[in-house]
Every structure is written in structure tokens, then in C-alpha cells.
Point group: C2
Chain length 230, copies 2
Amino acid sequence: VAAVSDSVHKRSQMAVREEKKQKTRSALLDAALAVMSRGGGFGALGLRELTREAGVVPTAFYRHFKDMDELGLALVEEGCTTLRQILRDVRIEAAGAGSGDLALERSVASFVSYVDAHGAILEFFVRERSGPSLTLRSAITSEQRGFARELANDLRLFSPFGDFSDEDLEIVSELIVNAVVAHLIELLLPADEAPARDVVITSRIEAQIRIILLGAARWRRATTMPVKST
Amino acid sequence: VAAVSDSVHKRSQMAVREEKKQKTRSALLDAALAVMSRGGGFGALGLRELTREAGVVPTAFYRHFKDMDELGLALVEEGCTTLRQILRDVRIEAAGAGSGDLALERSVASFVSYVDAHGAILEFFVRERSGPSLTLRSAITSEQRGFARELANDLRLFSPFGDFSDEDLEIVSELIVNAVVAHLIELLLPADEAPARDVVITSRIEAQIRIILLGAARWRRATTMPVKST
């Protein structure tokens, strides 16, 4: 009995330690966002300022991350994983209900409210996408490709995209992702009238995605542009 | 005669001085790009490093720019003015030849070769678009709106866009500009096989603009999305 109780005790000690470790890791990630939001990009992030903000000793950093780039990559992943899941759920549910319109409207609404709730991490994402760290740039580019790939998969659920080649569907979904991401900078600007602004941007993103989907449905049949000079 | 000769001499002295002033200004702008290309964004740009690079004394800076932001704004303007003119010329010439296809292909080709030839300034543009200086952010955003506005004007030359409302045409042209700008980051990445990469990106941008134009031509008539679940 004593041995079992010992082992239980050990396991619970381990659980506590693991929980504490996760807490410090989160604190470091949050501290990084807080420090960056006071100006200066990821490149200007210093170990001392970061750990002071997180309330841990400088050496504690290395128990969680090999270097600053690894922390940056963790931020990229954290910022994208949840949003990707939300968008996939929305699309699959709407596909089940048989409505492309629903998928479109709910996806855009989910995106805009995600941006409002997670401004700091998306600010980091937008900035480091063209920032000085090539590691972060390529991580962010590949996350964005991941969004496009998942969108392409889900577009197949809707006619006429089921018949599209992978390559064609990739061109369409990349275009949609880029069109949405382009509005991030505007959505992240501090604004006194954010709710009104969000409504305008939401309807603009919706219109632009509609244009893309309408065009994509006709595109494969056309070999030249349909517009002619007047 | 002596008085006239004196005045001619004075004027030529002024011309020389003006020329020298322009030369120093250009040197400062080039130096800013050179310093930034070695890492660190606009926010990290220091007066001493900048003037040393330009080969002038630090105080010379203030004969050309009120502060660093003013230099940044001059860079934004310089990076955009030439490209805007090139794109307008291409579109108007193609409209004269009555070919939307020609306008599209030549515009994309001009854009891609402009990026190849002016990497440093476009790198600055892309980075500061989401950088820490709100002055630069909004200057770059408004340049991008300028591109979209000019594109909207030129789209009117092609059917069916002549009949579009200003607002609808703005949504279409913003979408096109965003779709093109989204490829900037990729075009700016150092690559061993830049020519081959440029061909791939060029055809991708062309396809995406075709999709947008095809969709836009149908869009106003549609109130809901044409896709249905299979």
C-alpha cells in the first residue's frame, strides 16, 4: 500500500510539475506579445526584458525554448491552430447544411471576430510575415499555405469545385486566403469605431470572396479574358 | 555686361547647389535602403549609421528631412510613383489597342520586372506596411488605395466595367491590387532560380486576375453565391 501511495504521490507531483511548466511556457509567450506590442518587432525582443515581463529568471527561458526563433515558431503555431480549426468546423457544418452562402458568411464572421479577440498575436503574424527572421517568414508562409490547402479540400464539397484539378483549386483557394489576409492590417488598426468598421470590412470581404467563387466557376472554361474594349 | 554676367554666374551657382542638394538627398534615401537591407526595420534606423553610409555629416540630414518619418515618406513616394506611371501607361496603351488580355499580361510582366529591379525599396514597402510607424503604415495604405483607384479608372475602359458603380468597381480593383501585392513577399525572397520562379508567379498572378475579372463581370447580377452543395 505504501508503495502504491508513493507512486500515486510521485505521479501527482509530476502532474503538478508539468502543469507549472506549461504555465511558465504560456507566460513567456504572452510576455513576448506584450513586449512586442510596446513597439519593436520580434527582432528587437531581448531575453532580459522578456523574462522580466513573464516574471521568471532569465535562465528559465531555456527550459522551454532552444532560442528566440523557437519561441517565435510557437507563437506562429498558437496563432494559427485555433483559427484553422474554427474555420474548418464552420465550413464542414455549412457543407452538411448544403449551403455555400452559409459557409461563406459564417467563415468571414468567425475570422473577423477572431481577429478582434486575438489582436496581439495576429499583429505579430502580419508583421513577421515580412520581418527580418527568415525562419519566421517561412513558417508563416507555410501556415498560410496550410489554410489554403484546407480551404481547397473543403471547396471540393461544393459544386463545381469537386471536378477541379488540385492545381486549379490551389490557385483559387490561395486567391481567397490572400484576399482575406489583405484585410488583416486594416482590422488591426486601432479604431474608435471598431464595430462599425468591422461591419464594413466584413461585407467587403464577403463580396470579394463571392467575386472569386463566381469567377472560378467560369474560369476553367475560358481561355482568354471575357472583357473587350468598348 | 558685367552685371548680366554676374547674374548668369549666380544662376549657374544656384543650379549647381540645387543639383548637389538633390544628390545628397538621393544618397540619404539610398543609404537608408542599404542600412535596412542589412537587417532591422525602419524603426531601427539610426541617424549616425545612415549619414555615415551616405558619406555626409549627421547634421546634413536635417537640411533634407525634418525627421526620420519624413525620409520614410519620401521612400514610400519614390517606390510607388514610377510603378504607378508604368502600370497606367501599359493599361492605357492596351486599351487603345482594344485588348484586355494585352493589358493584363503586360501589367503583370511590368510589375514582376519592376520588383526584380527595385527589390530594396519594395522590401521596405512590404515591411513597413505593417511596421511600427503609424505614419508610414497609413502612407503605404493610401498609396495602395491610389493604385486601386487608378486601376478602377482604367477598368472603366473595358466592358462591362464601364457601367459599374464607383463603389462596386472599387471592391473589384482593391481585390486585384491585394491579389498582386500578396505575391510581393514571395517575389522578394532571395532565390537561386529567380527567372524560373518569376515565370511561375507571373502565370499564377495572371490566372488570379482572370478569375477576379470573370467573377466581377457576373457578380452584380448575382445576389447569392452560385455554388451549391453536391
